[in-house]
Symmetry: C2
Subunit: 196 residues, 2 copies
């Protein structure tokens, strides 16, 4: 499974995802996950604080990637371009379509997990705002840039999952981001105006 090295952690994730899919997230216990993975509960807790973290444990690494890209953006880059580059870097982590899709199905089936997912995206936006502010970007500009980036990400994420992974997530995000900017820039209206 690529990014998950073979071993206890990988087996725990596989087992948890299977149980969440088949019996529901709420109904699954840590004891069942550990048993299905052939390890003790204690081993489970060495890798995860609870059964929810199996689904959200990777988000810190994604955030770190995103912020590393932000920090390495050239000094003259505009806020919206910095946000685009940062989220593109984050998108490069989504290489396992089947895994992401299954995870999303589990989340869609549970309102508390949906809420957690929403909070995760909101916190990505806050992280972007804070990092832009540290680069000297004005407050509202930072907020708008981050919100637009996350709005484009959400649309891209849905598209990527629907598409069965025929394109890399990063390409789908670029497309979505470009569409958002066309909507914002109102090119159609300006063209009409110029033709008068």
């Amino acid at each position: 499974m690529g990014r998950w090295a073979p071993g206890a952690q990988s087996r725990l994730i596989q087992a948890a995802m299977k149980l969440y899919s088949e019996h529901g997230y709420e109904q699954t216990t840590v004891a069942q996950i550990a048993e299905a993975a052939g390890v003790t509960e204690r081993t489970f807790f060495r890798y995860f604080t609870d059964k929810r973290e199996v689904l959200f444990g990777g988000s810190q690494a994604l955030r770190d990637d995103m912020l590393a890209a932000l920090e390495s953006a050239p000094p003259g880059a505009s806020p919206i371009e910095i946000v685009r580059a940062s989220i593109e870097r984050l998108c490069e982590n989504f290489t396992e379509h089947a895994f992401s899709r299954r995870r999303q199905e589990i989340i869609n089936a549970n309102p508390l997990l949906q809420e957690r997912e929403l909070i995760k995206l909101t916190s990505y936006a806050s992280d972007l705002v804070e990092a832009l502010r540290e680069r000297g970007v004005e407050k509202t500009t930072a907020r708008f840039a981050a919100e637009m980036g996350i709005a484009a990400f959400r649309v891209a994420w849905e598209r990527w999952l629907e598409e069965n992974g025929k394109r890399p997530m990063r390409d789908v995000f670029r497309e979505s981001f470009d569409q958002l900017r066309v909507v914002a820039s109102d090119r159609r209206a300006r063209r009409r105006h110029l033709q008068r």
Copy 2:
């Protein structure tokens, strides 16, 4: 108080706002509101389904205004311009700064009211998307246009409340919306590019 005609409903709103501010929203009962307004509880329930509706009862009228503006937009208008005009119309309702500010302070003090306020804004966005779709606007374009409009509204709302009402809410919204579009269009970067 302008938009609230003198009478029971107006007195109930005044009484409720005073009690929510002084004793907290949670601690205030319908009986106390009715008593302070000099009416019976039964009269309270003729105007409001519960004590929360005193704070959110006006939102249907705002939504109706917004959607009426959307429907009367000229056929050739771009989605983002339609959204701007619709939210501008909505903004024209905010003429009582002191009332709005007090209401916001009550909401800020209570997480459940904050959640309700967030749901209200999300539902405005959904209404905009639906009405744009009915005009034949593509799904993602409609969504982006609505989300940008609401993002600009949120920023404008905070600014307007901070400013103590020195400018009409509509003007503050226009400014915020223009700023969002400057961020999206990346004018700075394009200008730099052209100077090379």
